[in-house]
Symmetry: C2
Subunit: 285 residues, 2 copies
């Protein structure tokens, strides 16, 4: 009986609850200035934006509203990437009154149709979202400097002049950003994560922690690449595989990565999106 917007909020909460999720804030680990409670407040603050997406409001405006609400706590960026994944999924799952999840509407095809239909206005709203919170991003390519997301609302005239849609924007960054890659490829890792979460047994948060390791072992985390470089990201993925193979205690890996402030945030975003899809498809908590 939860709505799609409520399932999305619950997915955010379950994601941060899952432990150990090496390198990320979870139920057992946090950073002094980015704490578990900031993720609680972030998930609550995002709720109106999530309801907008479920009610078929534009993806960009819904996202900007969600980020504005998410940022109303002292920890800074808690769920930017997760909300970016969730917005088109919630819109694909929802219906006009935002009610009744589990109607089977949420498919990769429908999600792809939602992102492909995004507009220049959606792109402008995405840029405005950066006004509310600091997000770690890479330098843009030379010909994209005018579109650097770190310029926030100042980049909107350039976006409008060039007529770039949000989908087109993400096509340009898909090679270096795992969230953008999901957007432009039919959300393959999101739906695969949902299938794994549904197939596993036990408490949902334990399944989510397991799937986090699987996704991390499977592909280097692009957030880690951005902040610490490709070799570190590669090494973290190998460590995740070792944890899955029983050759490394995931709790030890978690302590080590938190100590080094290496946080595979994009992989956590994928887990949140996967939890949402699983909840929409009937996963019981």
């Amino acid at each position: 009986m939860r709505t799609s917007a409520e399932n999305a909020q619950l997915a955010l909460l379950l994601e941060v609850t899952a432990t150990p999720k090496p390198g990320n804030v979870d139920r057992a680990r946090e950073y002094p200035d980015l704490r578990f409670e900031h993720f609680m407040a972030g998930a609550v603050g995002a709720s109106q934006g999530l309801r907008m997406a479920a009610a078929d409001d534009p993806v960009g405006a819904s996202f900007e509203r969600a980020i504005e609400g998410m940022a109303d706590q002292r920890g800074g960026n808690t769920q930017f990437g997760a909300l970016l994944l969730l917005m088109p999924l919630v819109r694909a799952a929802g219906n006009e009154n935002g009610s009744s999840s589990g109607n089977g509407a949420l498919t990769p095809e429908r999600a792809a149709a939602v992102v492909e239909a995004t507009t220049v206005d959606d792109a402008a709203a995405f840029y405005r979202a950066f006004e509310h919170v600091d997000v770690a991003v890479d330098d843009p390519p030379a010909d994209m400097e005018a579109l650097d997301v770190r310029r926030g609302a100042d980049a909107v005239p350039a976006i409008e002049e060039r007529g770039v849609t949000l989908y087109e924007l993400f096509e340009r960054s898909a090679d270096r950003d795992g969230v953008a890659r999901e957007w432009v490829s039919g959300f393959p890792r999101t739906f695969a994560a949902a299938d794994r979460i549904a197939a596993l047994d036990g408490p949902v948060s334990e399944r989510a922690a397991r799937v986090f390791l699987e996704l991390l072992a499977d592909e280097p985390d692009t957030h880690v690449v951005t902040k610490h470089g490709e070799p570190t990201a590669q090494e973290v993925s190998e460590d995740a595989q070792a944890a899955l193979d029983g050759d490394l205690d995931p709790e030890t890996l978690a302590d080590d990565l938190v100590e080094r402030s290496v946080n595979p945030g994009t992989t956590a975003d994928l887990v949140a999106a996967g939890l949402f899809v699983a909840l929409e498809r009937g996963l019981d908590v």
Copy 2:
């Protein structure tokens, strides 16, 4: 910028996050069949009922809707008592469009006016809420058997025949139920808890854990009295005082009470209500 309904939801989430809260589910402890994730789902499920209360819908109907949503998870009763405290407080704080908290509307006087204005319909809705979830309650006095809350909707005709309002119902159980006592006495412990949370320093969840111990040391928990008897409740309060005095490690106390399934749930309800009042009055997370 959070609405009153959102602050109430955040209060539920921060309450269960706070650790150690000896005997209760918290970020570090849970029971096999009542887990942290059930409280996440409970807080999400309650959101529509909380929005109803903020929009000035009747307290009883809002509460019933909140409990119906809260119960949509496998853990059973997660936040029944907390929501019972929150409903009149949210209605006292809210306004018709459910927006803009922190307008100074939330006072003990206004909360008292809300509960005193409850009707027979509110009492009937309260009974119907018991259809959705099992709640631990004491046997009623002999002349109240027809009004035993465990009868759920079956008791509604007797409620209507006798013309008992929800406020009058709680007057009759105030001597043995700490939530009812708050309702009929102007929420003194709730507002005192809010003041303490605001006055302390540090992460909000750590302040909440401290205030939990203070409330527990101050008065025996009525939920513990109901389930384990007065002597056990008295002993738990003495242990809480010892923890505050530094004579007993609160983590040890927490392990011991969880082991014995002694959970001071009413005290946790008061912490949630106190967190809500503090958030409404401008507490930053």
